[in-house]
Amino acid sequence: MPSTRVVVTGLGTTSPVGGDVASTWQALLSGTSGIAHLTDDWVEQMPVKIGGRVAVEPTEVLERVKARRLDRSSQFAMVAADQAWADAGLEGSGLEHERLGVALASGIGGVTTLLANYDALLEKGPRRVSPLAVPMLMPNAPAANVSLKYGARAAVHAPTSACASGNEAIALALDLIRLGRADVVLAGGTEAAIHPLPMAAFANMMALSKTASDDGGDPTTVSRPWDTGRDGFVLGEGGAVLVLESEEHARARGATIYAEVRGAGISNDAHDIAQPDPEGRGGTRAIKMALREGDVDPATVVHVNAHATSTPKGDIAEGLMLHAVLGEHVDRCVVTSTKSMTGHLLGGAGALEAVATVMALRDRVSPPTINLDDLDPEVHLDIPTSRRDLPEGDIVALNNSFGFGGANVAVAFGSVS
């Protein structure tokens, strides 16, 4: 058993349903969707015309000159990190910066910066490519910019595993602290991929739902995990950052503790580059690993923030995993997919959902899954359609993420008394 206990002492996010944790959490509890028709000038020719833009533009929050040197994905990361840093009370805490790390992921990197500069290259020539293009588009740009701002001089990582990236960053942060490589780690994920190229690509691989784009339908009803009418995910954008800290360090400075990070599990399907293992075997192993590492009794797992993206196969596979791991206890486990409201933030998803998982433990309440009108008969889970209280006592909540390439990441959080 790892001896160092790791806790969460700060949270931050900018998401399709709110510009900070408080507004995001209230929106999720009340079942509010952040999905809408996109208004970009490129959207007309697209097969998919809906998405989850952030509720608050980062340029309204960040200093203008700093913002223009950051890819949109780094802007989200910076907004979320600023909030998490303030929430954790780290400013002026006497933190040793050589013991401060960052693990901040994105699935795709600075794709809007890359493509905007390619447009400039084609239309105006090489002279018009920004000298800042590379430091803006590199996959470790969000992590590097946050480390610059806060003087993080321990390890600064940008793990990447597609849609599991944000959750992998949290698992990595846990390792960094347990291995003694850092006392505090700013961990999370970000994604800014609402751009015609990635959207066309996802649409062409039949991953995105085309519902409500051209049929006059309501975009807020399209992301419908576990519903028989689900036909693909809805792309969202945003970022989230959690402050992970050794319990010893947090207690010594009198920090407020949201939850404990009990354990993490990482595995790979090695089944298909994009499709999940239909039986969910890799995900099952990752969840088991997380519970074993945290010495978690499956009977105490009362909440799961599922990956459930609203795709036909993935949602079913995740149900199989939970049955395989929790057995009979699955009946008292409240499962939710907050993607029903936020859409799928890709590399940001695992981090935003970790924030929701931690808030669920703190407030002992699960957000609903919206748009679940007709539960898929192959899914046997307790999925409330309005907020549901969680029990008192020592409880554990799981956050699952799965990514293209076969990645499976599960993180188990425990309540603190």
Partner: protein, 81 residues
């Protein structure tokens, strides 16, 4: 033909946009690096934006000679000549 002051004012807007320097501070005697805190990558952005704005070419070898706002304005005036 743009006057020196017109070029200075347009250049000041570019420096403001790129580096966030107050446009009123961008005067002919000011050094980009020492007075206005414009770093080397920002300077490249300023030069590229100036090339487009004023319809001139400023070779990379020339950029290092543009120490002050006045140097840049004079270069642009000559290039437009």
């Amino acid at each position: 033909m743009a006057t020196t002051e017109e070029i200075r004012a347009d250049l000041a807007d570019i420096v403001n946009e790129v580096a966030g320097v107050d446009a009123d501070d961008v005067q002919l005697d000011k050094s980009f690096v020492d007075d206005l805190d414009v770093d080397s990558l920002s300077m490249v952005e300023v030069v590229v934006a100036a090339e487009e704005k004023f319809g001139v070419t400023i070779p990379d070898d020339e950029v290092k000679n543009l120490k002050t706002v006045g140097d840049a304005v004079a270069y642009i005036e000559r290039a437009q000549g």
